[in-house]
Symmetry: D3
Subunit: 135 residues, 6 copies
């Protein structure tokens, strides 16, 4: 149950078709997941979202592709976005994340959840040594 | 301004001194940051928190130490914990994170913030292909 | 699956019936959505919640009714409350929100998610020009 | 630095004076903290906020006053509201929270932060046994 | 639909069996809920999570067992973790939480959600009186 | 205290200068706030962030400019980003937001914070009537 009507035949709109074709070509799969199928209700929003995701996540950059997906999973967990946790975990597994690496990712994210709550509960003051300007 | 009184001479308590000594030995520095100095108000909480952080973050595991710190930064940003963002960014830099890697980390975290809000706003239904049980 | 038992015949309690009648009269519909049906487990909590929602959302105030619903949707997305995203999006559509306005609302909310994460990741210091006391 | 101008002489407005007098009488102190001094910029918002806080937090109810303050601290930590963490921790201490109870509160909140992130990261399905309707 | 494969016969692993046996003995029930069944995919993560939960939640400490569960529910609501809200609400009810206490818990958590947003929206400055170091 | 070193003379980099010039021209002011001065540490991140903010917030679109700023403030409050709350509140005031409108914005955001926590605490099931596909 989405908050917008998913267009029944999204690729009848040439702008949507162009994005879906690019998703399939970039990811080398016929599968276009529901986020994109739902965003198809507004072609400009679909285009701008995909172009940004493609530039950062599907293009070689400084960071390793698997590291990038793991960072995405970490943020999605902390933001409580179930769909995003599922889709980026699947992407990380497709890029080679093992069960042991997944377990360690979850262990770090949950440890950070713990110490984040501790630091906020204590209202710890910043150490001057953390000043980037002083490094 | 913390929510607990930082003990003025924390290392007069032998349990606190033992943890601080271990922090200094593990990290090879004399610097003990304010989170630990504040947690010193309750030695058992200090001990359990440090032992968990040490086991995961200061011990060789599957994931690269720098990757682990970047995951920690990512979660801390999404949780809005300023102290944690500062302390783990400093730790990541100490482990070799370049300015370009830092910029890319921020770009991914902020892109995830964007698509997390989109997926939540659309209430996108899960694709059956994301079912881990079916893989 | 709720965390409280929804009363099977909520309107047998006169306090619940009075609130439900007021909801129907205020909104000019027979439909009473599940939030209220669930809150019926505790009539005082039901009454205080409805009276506050009615005063702010179903009464003419300074802001346009559609703007108020869009603000409600925005907060609900950022708080990750799926039920609230659905119910207030439906309310906004009932008050005339077009698909294009909905798309723009989502674009702004997701852009804010992005720059919020950037500002938090950078720990940007406040500009003195933002001081309301100085204006 | 607030986002609204704190009125320089808030009690010259009789509606503000009435609320401040009630805060002082209810809490038996001359101290009116900054949340109320800032809300004084809009007397109706000040009145409605105080009347709700008074009814729940400064009036005998089912739950013990100290338990209520500790719940308030817990939510404020999870929501990342620094001002609220400070003000409700101070209130809990004024109501008798010991350092050991405070440490335990922080331990529980941070453990919950940890397992919340784990459950979200795993996307654990609900057990039918948790259905309140079936109890 | 979880993000990891739940082992079909988790107790064939002796480390998992030991934890499940301890959960059953500690809680005096045959029921092992899905969080633990899912964590069984990684025995070390299962062990460390259970040992921490047991030490704090299933062992007599300073705070009353029901108060501890209510604090856990409060944090889980603020963090938006649906599974955790359900499981800890069920645990609180098993420990004797009445419907009226549950209603009051929800009233406090939602009032805190309200004033947390107000304080953040106003960016209220800290009162020096809240300085724990000065008490 | 930022997590990156703010370049001391950012406009010596022509890419940064071009963005700053565009910010000044678009907003018709000499003031370039700290978010942009900090992002100057990485010109590509600065460019992509500004181009997106400009396209949505500084260009005529369907929604009224003041409404867009108020939505931005609402999301920033819910995400707990203090810098963003300040900067977008200042922007909304510059676009004509009155004190009464500001008070009403805060009232709605805080009411949403309240009912979001209620709906999450109750785990209210979705009403079929909210299904956008059925409308």
């Amino acid at each position: 149950m989405t908050t917008v009507r998913q267009p029944p035949d999204p690729e009848s709109d040439p702008r949507v078709k162009a994005v879906f074709d690019d998703i399939r070509a970039t990811r080398r799969t016929d599968f276009v997941n529901n986020l994109w199928r739902t965003l198809a209700f507004d072609p400009p929003l679909l285009e701008s979202t995909w172009s940004e995701v493609k530039a950062l996540m599907a293009t070689p950059t400084q960071l390793d592709p698997l590291v990038k997906e793991m960072l995405y999973v970490a943020v999605s967990i902390a933001n409580g976005c179930g769909y995003c946790v599922h889709s980026h975990t699947a992407a990380a597994k497709a890029k080679g994340m093992t069960d042991a690496q997944h377990a360690e990712l979850l262990a770090i994210v949950s440890l950070a959840g713990r110490t984040n709550h501790l630091a906020t509960g204590l209202q710890v003051p910043l150490d001057p040594a953390f000043d980037a300007g002083a490094r």
